[in-house]
Amino acid sequence: MSVISLRLKDRELKRLAELSKLTQKDKSMVARELMEYGWEFMMIRTYKEGKLSLSTLASRLDMSVSETIDLLSEFNIQSPIEYADYLKGFEGFK
């Protein structure tokens, strides 16, 4: 693991300390976990906005496509496919 130094606001330091106490983990570990959660959240949000494809999301989360579908389902993230696209999908069978 690499070591970096970064400036944190008092509020962020306070949150790290609070979470460290709550989970009984050291602050470094808590910070790393928060980065993981933050990354996951940002990627899912980008997907939800329709700016990231499902397979790209899976790749960014280091998951298979199936696991990513399960994760989106667990978080109840609505598919960005619109009703108009759905109606157009019927034309393919004609």
Partner: protein, 164 residues
């Protein structure tokens, strides 16, 4: 009728256990990369897809034009599997089954016909190859995994019921 599948739709149909029925009615084609995406883990849907490939019910094809596929990835911010599926569907002038918005947007730009997992459920049920009760159960599962909007699920429910 042959249809090229992206991993999104293929996995959804495997999760709701409709994929075998789909392969009985349609020639299911997938590019190499989609196969890799679908069978990478030892889980139920991966095992089912893997079995169908072994049986020859799903045919795996090579998407050979790397330059075009890379360009599709760059231009539409899609992954290699999605780009390979789109490329193959365009090349073969056939329908693309995809449950992914950026790929659907690319389809619209190229005037490429597309469809999604819920359309297979509706079409197969309307053909009488699936009883209504089973179709409703599968729609419930698809609502969970496919995460379609309420409006789409309500419309699909009405169609299964025989509304339109």
């Amino acid at each position: 009728m042959e249809i090229v599948f992206d991993s999104s739709t293929l996995i959804l149909l495997a999760k709701i256990e409709l994929i075998r029925l789909v392969t009985e009615d349609y020639q299911v084609l997938i590019p190499d990369r989609v196969m890799q995406e679908c069978v990478s883990k030892d889980i139920f849907d991966a095992q089912l897809i893997s079995q169908l490939i072994t049986e020859g019910a799903i045919k795996v094809l090579k998407a050979d034009n790397k330059a075009v596929i890379s360009k599709l990835c760059r231009d539409f911010k899609i992954h290699t599997g999605e780009a390979e599926a789109l490329y193959l569907a365009m090349k073969r002038k056939t329908l693309l089954a995809v449950d992914d918005l950026p790929t659907i947007k690319a389809c619209k730009i190229f005037n490429q016909r597309f469809t999604t997992a819920v359309h297979f459920l509706i079409t197969i049920a309307q053909q009488g190859k699936l009883d209504k009760e089973s179709a409703f159960v599968k729609l419930e599962k698809l609502a969970v995994y496919g995460r379609y909007s309420r409006r789409i699920i309500d419309d699909a429910y009405a169609r299964l019921k025989g509304g339109s």
